[in-house]
C-alpha cells in the first residue's frame, strides 16, 4: 500500500521529530530509520525529507551543527530542541486522539500490504 501525499502531509514532521527524540542524527540516517521503522511502508523521495528538516530547523524545533563524519566528509547533524520535544508530545497526543476516533468508527483495519 502506498500512502497518499495528503495523508502524509503534516505527519512527516512528527515522524522526523520522533526519530530525533532518540538522539542527534543526520539526514541519511534519519531516512534509513524512517524506512526501517515503517518496514518499507513509507515510500518518499529521499531528497524530499531535507526540506522538511530545514523547515523544522527554521521553526526552532530542531537545531543543526556541522561535524566531520567518519568518512571525513562534513555532515549536518540535527538535534531536537526543547520546543521540538513539546511539539512532538503535542502531535503524538493529537495523533493518538485521531487514531482513537478513527478506530471507534472504522473498527480494526485489515493489515496493510507493503
Amino acid at each position: 500500500m502506498k500512502l497518499r501525499k495528503q495523508t502524509l502531509d503534516g505527519n512527516i514532521e512528527t515522524l522526523l521529530l520522533a526519530i530525533l527524540a532518540d538522539g542527534p542524527s543526520y539526514g541519511y540516517h534519519i531516512v534509513t530509520q524512517l524506512h526501517e521503522r515503517t518496514d518499507g511502508l513509507l515510500k518518499v523521495g529521499e531528497g524530499t525529507v531535507y526540506p522538511v528538516l530545514h523547515r523544522l530547523e527554521d521553526r526552532g524545533l530542531i537545531t543543526a551543527t556541522w561535524r566531520k563524519s567518519e568518512q571525513g566528509r562534513q555532515r549536518k547533524y540535527y538535534r531536537l530542541t526543547k520546543r521540538g520535544g513539546t511539539a512532538l508530545r503535542e502531535n503524538t497526543a493529537q495523533w493518538a486522539g485521531l487514531m482513537q476516533v478513527m478506530q471507534a468508527v472504522l473498527g480494526d483495519p485489515p493489515p496493510a500490504r507493503a
Binding site: G45, G47, H54, R73, K76
Partner: protein, 241 residues
Amino acid sequence: MSQAIETYLDRVMLYAKREGQQAQDIRAEQHDHLLSRVAEFEAEGMSREDAIFKAIEGHGHPRTVGYSLRPRFPLIDIRNRGTARGVIAIGPRAMGVFAFGGAAFGVVAVGGFSAGLVSVGGFTAALLFCWGGFGFAPTGLAYAGMAVGLIALGGMAAGIIAKGGLACGIWAEGGITKTLHSLESAPGWAHTIVESISEDTIVWMGTAALVIGFLVVYPLAMWAQWRENRRLASSDPWLME
C-alpha cells in the same frame, strides 16, 4: 567523487535557486546523503555504477527535490511545473500576494481560474472585486460576462443588487429583469456605487483599463516563465526533455 552525482546535484541546485553559503550547505548535505547511500549499496554487493544510479533514483527527480528546497516564500517564485509560492508567484498554479497562473490564488490573482481579494480571469472568484468571463464575488463587486455577487454587473448578472442584460436580484435593473424592487429603491450607498459604475464613461474606461492591465501583465508573466525555461535550458538542455 562521481560525475553522475555532481551532474544530478547541479540540476537539483538549478531548481532550488539558492545562493551563497545556503546553496553550499544544501549541496553538501545532499552530496553526503548520496555518497552514504552509494556506500550502502556497494556494501550489499552492487557495482559502483548501479549503486550510483539507484542512489540518484531513490533521491527523487531533480525538479521535485530542487523545487522543494526553494525558500518558503521568496519575493519572486517562477515555476514551470507545480505550485509557485511567493510575493509574486508565476506558474501553472500560483499562490502569492500577486499570483499569475493557470490557477491563481492570491491577494491579486490573475489566471484561467483565479481566486482572491481582487481577481481577474476566465473563471474568477473574489471577495472584493472580480472581472472576467464568469465572476463570483459574494462580498463584493463582480463585473463579468456572467456575474454573481453582492453587486453584480454584466451580460448576465445575479446578486443582491444586479444590473445587466439579464438581471436578477433583490434590486435589479436591465434588459430582462427579475427583481423584487427597482434599482432606484436600493440602499443609498449601493445605488450610488451601481449608478456611478454604470455610467458609460466609467464602464468604458474601467473595461479598457482592465483589458490593458491584463494585456500587459499576461505577457510579462509569460515572459518571466520563458526566461526561467531559458535559464534551465541554457544550463542543462537535458532538463527540458
